[in-house]
Structure formats: structure tokens, C-alpha cells
């Protein structure tokens, strides 16, 4: 039986074999899923045996969560068949999956924050009168068996992220799972919490349950994975029967580039969390010998509502004409950094200056006035208003300019929009079509067009500016950024595309868990170090 995806040939370096279906607990064959015109998954086949820990890897958007959701019945597949225990398995909703003892921990918590642990565990699991005492006993029992300490009466909203994760897992365990699906359970955990979680996985598997673990972290794979499957663009890119020994091949399959030595020693590790005064050149700036930096960030920290430190004493100077890239796996503090610098969210501590003016805690409008262009990470939520036409979006922050006798001069706006669209190659039928009707790349170019044509632009923050863009669009975007740079604008580029940021930026700082792991020149030779820092390898 051939379960190899037709389109993707296995990398010759990856020693792998077809998933064993004999004795498999769950067997997927040719699974496909579309969201509208977008194909999130295609022809995915894999099998999980009882007692096996199977790791699922892949870049952001590779389709991991979608696959998990298919298994758990949240989505229904467009193609492919599943068997569970040799029986056909077609869950039409989580209820079906749960009935077959398939349990899932979601990437995002699905707990009720204002209820206690016990109540969360009982939700959907119990009928009639709640037997909280009985449930608490079971929790105690499970805690003992798997080493998961939990206070049954605590309210979820008072728990740390790690504890919440534990609740999610116990919730699954309470259902006596035969297959446990964990979608990036460790993304939010601290190292010792991760170790404990992996221990639980091990024990659960030892009791005969199949475990599917989605993760980005290589160390985890090395620790627990018995087999691994790599997804790339919704298709199986590689498989491994001994993932612990084939990490490099897996990573290459995942990102299609080499990550030669993941244990390189970073020499500028000390760069993290250093005080402002120690940044070279600060004194010179303070004494006015050097032009004002475009951005000066001094010990910015962000603590979220759950008390987790998302950004930890971030300190950086971006000089005019310089492009500094912030690299890192998503979710390591980049979003928080961008939010603070664009005025959308206050920093818990620290200060920052744009073009020499202190902007800490200022409104977005003032930050724009200070000469900061912002290309936000989430263009749909923050960067544009999809319900308005392209022209309006292009001038959203400077509409006053088109006021004539109190009315909006649409004609002038249209003309200037057309001009801007030509300059930045924004392809749309006309400036009057809805912004939401543009393709992702054109939307991004339009946002760039707006931010780069800001009056008195001195600083540009571009967060994930090429996400979801095709090759041509990516070229165009970086071309524009380069041009701005040449005119003396300081650019802070947040990206997880290693190749690109090495090509575009002058310097790279790497964020890991909110902290600057290291800093180095953006040169191809530094790629390994950067990759290692991104994966959290400190030494």
C-alpha cells in the first residue's frame, strides 16, 4: 500500500517508510481539507499505533491544527478516509470523537475561565447532578498516576498557563482516551512544565494510548517521539521512524533549508536584557554627537493578563538608514513588541523614543505624527479596514488632506490613490473596490504604500510584512523597504523568514520567550547561529 503523497517525493536523506497500518489505532488515508479556495491539507496519510508517541511538525500554517481538528471532528474532511481501531471513523463533531475515546488538547485553551477546575472537567462529561466529590477523587487519582498536581477547587482564571494546560490534559485523561491529540501543548509552558508534560505523555502512551503531539521544538522530539511526520504546505514532506536521530533532516524537510549545527555556542548571548547604558553609542547620542536614532527602545517589558512575561526588557537602537531584523519563532514576544511600538498597547515597563521624541504610552496618532510608519502583523485586524475602498484605506491616517470646502474631495483622493497604486504596484480594478477584495499580497503592498509615504517618515516598523505573499510580491515589498532605508529611514523588521531577513537586514536580533537571545550581523554565515537561537539553544 502506497501512502506516499504523490506530489512530494521523500527526501532521499530521510530514512522513512510507509506508516504501518497493521495494528494501527488511527489510520488516515489521503486526507484533504479546503477552506474556500484555499487548500489547507492535501493527501495526508499517516498511522498511529497504540502506545506510540507520534510527533507532527511543520511551519506556521502548514496545516497541523487543521489535521488535528479533522481527527477530533471539529472539521470534516473534503477527501480521504479515517479508520479507528480498524473501524471506519467519520466524526461529525467533537461529541463523536469523544465517544470513541479520542481526546484533544487544543492549541488555544478551551476552558471556562470563571469556573473551577472540577466544573471544567465535568463539563460535557457528566449528566444529572454533578458529583464534584467523585470527580475530585478521580483528579487526585490521575494526579498520582501521572504526576499532575491540581487543586480541584481553584478557578481557571486564577491559574497559571501551565496549570491550565494541566487541566486540559486531565480533562482528556478523564475520558480514558485511546488516542490523545495534543496541538502545541508546550508552546506556552516553562521548561520544567514541559518536562513534566512530556513525562505525562510517556506514561499515557505506556498505558497503551496513542499520542499525537504537535510541536515546533526539536528537543521535545528528541526526548519523546517514536515517529514523526512533517507537514509542509498541507502535504506530508517527510516521515521518520527514529526522529531522535534525524532531527536535521526533519528540520530541513520542514523549512527546506539546512540548520547545520543546532548546538552552536552564541557568543553575543550576553546581549539579552542588558541595560541601556551598556548599548554602544548611547552616550554619543545623549551628547548630540550622532544624529537621533530612528528608534531607541530601553528595557521594554510586557506582562499579559495572565501574568506571563511576554516581552522581557527589550533594548535596541535602530539608526537612520539601518535595517534591524527581529527574528524568532512566532509567539516569542514579537507581537507584543510591535503592539508597544505602535502605541496599541502600553509597555509594563521601559521607555522608547522615536526620532528622539519619547513615545512611551503615547496614542497611535502621536506615534504616526512623530514619523513612524507601522506595517502591522495582522493586516486584517489592525492594518486596514476591509469594508472600505482601497483609496480610503490608502489615506486613512491623512484624510484631512482631501478636505475641500468641508467635503471630502473623492476625485483628488482617487487620483492620488491611482498614482500610489501604480508606484507600489497595487493591483486592483480601481481605487474604489473594497479593500477586502484585494489579494493578500496587494493588500500588503497597499498598507506599505500608505506607511512609506507618511510625511516626515523616520522610522518604519514592519511586522511580518511578507506573510502569505507570493515570490514577486515579497520582492516588491523588500524593494520598497530597501528604498526607504536608502533615504535614511530606520527600519525594524519583524519576520520569521530567516532567508529573507538575512538578505534585507543589516543586523539581526533573535527573540526567544520574550528575551533577546542574541544579536549578530545579518550575514548568511550567521544563519546557523540565528537558527539555533530561534530554537532556544542558548549554549
Amino acid at each position: 500500500m502506497s501512502v506516499w503523497p504523490a506530489a512530494v517525493e521523500p527526501d532521499s536523506a530521510t530514512p522513512s517508510s510507509a506508516p504501518a497500518s497493521a495494528g494501527a489505532l488511527l489510520c488516515l488515508q489521503g486526507m484533504g481539507k479546503r477552506f474556500g479556495a484555499f487548500r489547507a491539507l492535501g493527501d495526508v496519510s499517516l498511522a498511529i499505533a497504540p502506545g506510540e508517541i507520534h510527533c507532527l511538525l511543520g511551519e506556521n500554517g502548514a496545516g497541523k491544527s487543521t489535521l488535528c481538528n479533522l481527527i477530533f471532528g471539529v472539521y470534516q474532511p473534503d477527501e480521504g478516509v479515517m479508520t479507528f481501531d480498524g473501524q471506519p471513523y467519520k466524526p461529525t463533531g467533537p461529541a463523536d470523537a469523544l465517544a470513541r475515546h479520542v481526546a484533544m488538547v487544543h492549541q488555544h485553551f478551551s476552558l471556562v475561565p470563571d469556573l473551577s477546575v472540577v466544573d471544567n472537567l465535568l463539563l460535557g462529561q457528566s449528566r444529572g447532578v454533578l458529583k464534584r466529590g467523585e470527580c475530585a477523587d478521580r483528579i487526585a487519582d490521575l494526579s498520582r498516576r501521572f504526576g499532575l498536581a491540581l487543586d480541584p477547587r481553584a478557578r481557571i482564571q486564577d491559574l497559571s498557563v501551565g496549570e491550565r494546560q494541566r487541566v486540559e490534559i486531565v480533562k482528556c485523561l478523564m475520558r480514558d482516551p485511546r488516542l490523545l491529540v495534543l496541538d502545541e501543548p508546550t508552546a506556552v509552558l516553562l521548561p520544567d512544565e514541559i518536562a513534566a508534560l512530556l513525562g505525562v505523555c510517556r506514561r499515557v502512551a505506556d498505558e497503551g494510548c496513542g499520542v499525537m503531539l504537535v510541536t515546533h521544538k526539536l528537543a521535545e522530539i528528541r526526548q519523546v517521539a517514536e515517529r514523526a511526520t512533517v507537514l509542509r504546505g498541507g502535504r506530508v514532506a517527510a516521515r521518520s521512524e527514529q526522529p531522535g536521530q534525524e532531527l536535521d533532516e526533519l528540520v530541513r524537510a520542514m523549512i527546506q533549508r539546512d540548520l547545520a549545527d543546532t548546538s552552536a555556542t552564541p557568543e553575543s548571548r550576553a546581549a539579552s536584557a542588558r541595560p541601556m547604558a551598556s548599548v554602544p553609542g548611547v552616550d554619543a547620542i545623549r551628547t548630540g554627537r550622532v544624529p537621533e536614532p530612528a528608534l531607541m527602545a530601553d528595557g521594554l517589558s510586557v506582562v499579559d493578563a495572565d501574568g506571563v512575561k511576554r516581552l522581557d526588557r527589550f533594548t535596541l537602537i535602530v539608526r537612520p538608514g539601518e535595517t534591524v531584523a527581529v527574528a524568532g519563532v512566532e509567539g516569542n514576544g514579537q507581537s507584543e513588541l510591535a503592539a508597544v511600538l505602535s502605541g496599541m498597547r502600553p509597555a509594563t515597563e521601559g521607555r522608547f523614543f522615536i526620532n528622539g521624541q519619547e513615545m512611551t504610552g503615547r496614542a497611535p496618532r502621536e506615534i504616526t505624527r512623530a514619523g513612524a510608519g507601522i506595517v502591522p502583523e495582522d493586516r486584517h485586524a489592525v492594518g486596514c479596514i476591509t469594508g472600505l475602498p482601497v483609496a480610503e484605506n490608502l489615506f486613512l491616517d491623512r484624510l484631512q488632506r482631501f478636505r475641500r470646502w468641508g467635503l471630502l474631495d473623492r476625485r483628488a483622493m482617487r487620483e492620488q490613490a491611482l498614482e500610489l497604486m501604480q508606484r507600489f504596484d497595487v493591483r486592483a480594478a480601481s481605487p474604489d473596490v473594497g479593500f477586502g477584495g484585494l489579494s493578500g499580497g496587494n493588500q500588503q503592498k497597499a498598507v506599505l504604500a500608505r506607511e512609506l509615504t507618511l510625511d516626515g517618515l523616520r522610522f518604519l516598523l514592519a511586522a511580518q510584512p511578507t506573510r502569505g505573499l507570493d515570490v514577486g510580491a515579497v520582492q516588491a515589498v523588500y524593494g520598497h523597504i530597501q528604498q526607504a532605508c536608502d533615504k535614511g529611514v530606520g527600519v525594524l523588521l519583524i519576520s520569521s523568514e530567516l532567508d529573507e531577513l538575512i538578505r534585507v537586514a543589516d543586523r539581526v536580533v533573535v527573540l526567544y520567550r520574550g528575551r533577546v537571545m542574541g544579536e549578530c550581523p545579518a550575514e548568511p554565515a550567521q544563519r546557523d547561529r540565528i537558527g539555533a537561537w530561534m530554537a532556544g539553544h542558548e549554549a
Binding site: 463533531g93 467533537p94 471556562v112 463539563l123 454533578l130
Partner: protein
């Protein structure tokens, strides 16, 4: 004499609070599950009308009560379909239903009773719990009430217990606090919310019947006269907890009852002030001026998987 006045005041407060309590409890359950029914007013009016008509036609107030409850089901279903399945704006839906019911009951009342009927509508019997009935003053003025009031109290207590101690209560709470979690735990958010809205309907019908055949044995056009909105105000003021909401209902009832007691003491407070007091208090509450309000996180938000 003073004691007797106090007892009458207490009895009056209880009677005026009872319909609020019944409908507010229903509304609380629904809001907990994430659906705001502005249509409580219309549901109460439906119940009041159908209860009165049923009681008059069958001659049996108990049958009237049953008919009142049955008649409200289509109205509640309309609210549910519009706001849950069709994901219509819950407020607009509610206001529309209220207007519709007001017109329809007025029209139907005139058709059925010809507008000039003096027919006595049989009302629910009164009852006092044995033991309590013999307490001087209190027995007569406070505890001698329509049996529906006691039944209602039992139902409210049952609902309060259900919300706290049963799986259904848990699911209801979660449907408004974290519908996604409910969905992923294998329960249907839609089913839970439908159930909650239907319960609101039933409770509002009981409240409406209390108004028409429970207390005063008559129906008048638009007789709820804003009581439904007051019930919603009580839920808000009660911060979505049954205990506090009970207090709010009693407070609102007392504010109204006070109107009839104050003249006896020669105190003159503008009645407009007493009437608007509940709304004022509710406004202060939603404005966050009376403690921190914690509305169910997904209140008024339709659930899409």
C-alpha cells in the same frame, strides 16, 4: 398599627416582586447562556393574555396557567430561531417581538372580549403554608398568597440549585462564558441556548400569568407595562447571580410598594422618582458604579463554530 403597616408593606413588596422574580430568573438563565431576550416583556404579555383567556374559556385558572405557558412557546421559539439560528441582533429581535405581541394581544383581546366584557376571569386560589399561616399579622398579610407565588419560589430555588449543582447548569453557564469550550467538550451550544430561551419563555409566561390571573384576576391591554424591561434591569443589577437578583427584584418591588405606604406616614416623594428608581439603579449598575459588573463574556454574541 405600625406593625400591621409593615406587614402589609412586606406583603405588597413580595407580590410586586414576584412577577419580576419569575421572569428575571428565566432571563438570567438565558443571559448566562449568552442570549439576551429583550422580548421578556412580550413573553410576559403573551403569558398574561393567554393565561387570562385560557382561564376564562375553561373556567379553570390552572388550565389558564397551562395555556399561558403553552402560548408563549411559539414566541420564545421565534426569539430563539431569530437570535440563535439566524443570528439576528438580539436587541432588535426582542424589541420587534414586544411590539408585535403588544399589537396582537390588544387586537385579540378586543376580538375575544369585545372590549366591553365584564366577565370575571377566574383567578388562582390563595394559600398559606401551614404553620406560617398562623403567625399573627405576617400570616395574613405576607404568607397568604396565590399558590403560584409559592410554586414560583420553589421553581426559582430549583433553577438556582440546577445552575449550581447539575450538568445542565454547568453547560448553561459555559455556553455564555466560553461557548467554544462547550462545543469542544461535545455539547451543542445551539441546543443549550435554545433550551435557555425556551425556559425564559416559560418563566415569563408564569410571571405574566401571575400578573393576570394570579394577583388581580384580569387582563388589561399592555398590562406588563415595562415589567419585562424591569426584569432585565434586575438581572443586570443582580450582576447575573440569582441571589443578588432576588434582592434586586425585592428592592424594585419595595420601591413600588413604598408609593402606597408613604402617604400614610405623610411623606411625599414624587412618584415619578420611585417609578424610575429601578431603571436608575440598573443604569448605575451597568455603568459600573455599583461594584464590578461581570456579564457573561459572550452575552449577545451568536456562536459560529
Amino acid at each position: 398599627m405600625g406593625w400591621e403597616m409593615a406587614a402589609v408593606f412586606a406583603g405588597s413588596t413580595v407580590r410586586l416582586a414576584a412577577p419580576l422574580l419569575l421572569s428575571a430568573t428565566g432571563e438570567l438563565v438565558s443571559e448566562r447562556a449568552g442570549v439576551l431576550n429583550m422580548s421578556v416583556e412580550g413573553m410576559m404579555l403573551t403569558g398574561a393574555f393567554a393565561g387570562a383567556v385560557g382561564s376564562w374559556a375553561t373556567g379553570s385558572p390552572a388550565m389558564g396557567l397551562l395555556i399561558g405557558v403553552l402560548a408563549v412557546l411559539p414566541v420564545a421559539l421565534l426569539q430563539a430561531v431569530l437570535s440563535i439560528t439566524l443570528r439576528a441582533n438580539q436587541i432588535v429581535t426582542g424589541v420587534g417581538i414586544n411590539i408585535l405581541v403588544l399589537g396582537a394581544t390588544t387586537l385579540a383581546y378586543r376580538e375575544i372580549f369585545g372590549g366591553r366584557s365584564r366577565t370575571e376571569i377566574p383567578g388562582l386560589a390563595k394559600w398559606a403554608p401551614p404553620g406560617l399561616a398562623d403567625i399573627p399579622l405576617l400570616g395574613e398579610h405576607v404568607f397568604h398568597q396565590t399558590w403560584l407565588l409559592y410554586a414560583g419560589l420553589v421553581i426559582v430555588a430549583l433553577i438556582a440549585w440546577m445552575m449550581r449543582h447539575t450538568a445542565v447548569g454547568l453547560a448553561l453557564h459555559a455556553a455564555g462564558a466560553a461557548p467554544k469550550a462547550v462545543d469542544k467538550s461535545g455539547l451543542s451550544v445551539t441546543a443549550i441556548r435554545y433550551g435557555a430561551v425556551m425556559l425564559t419563555g416559560v418563566m415569563s409566561a408564569l410571571a405574566g400569568c401571575f400578573l393576570s390571573i394570579g394577583d388581580i384576576h384580569t387582563f388589561t391591554e399592555g398590562m406588563t407595562n415595562g415589567a419585562g424591561y424591569l426584569a432585565i434591569a434586575a438581572v443586570i443589577f443582580g450582576n447575573w447571580r440569582i441571589g443578588r437578583m432576588l434582592g434586586a427584584c425585592l428592592l424594585f418591588g419595595a420601591a413600588t410598594a413604598l408609593q402606597f405606604q408613604l402617604p400614610a406616614f405623610g411623606i411625599h416623594v414624587p412618584s415619578a422618582l420611585l417609578i424610575m428608581l429601578p431603571y436608575l439603579l440598573a443604569l448605575l449598575a451597568v455603568g459600573g458604579l455599583v461594584g464590578r459588573q461581570t456579564a457573561p463574556a459572550y452575552l449577545t454574541q451568536a456562536y459560529v463554530r
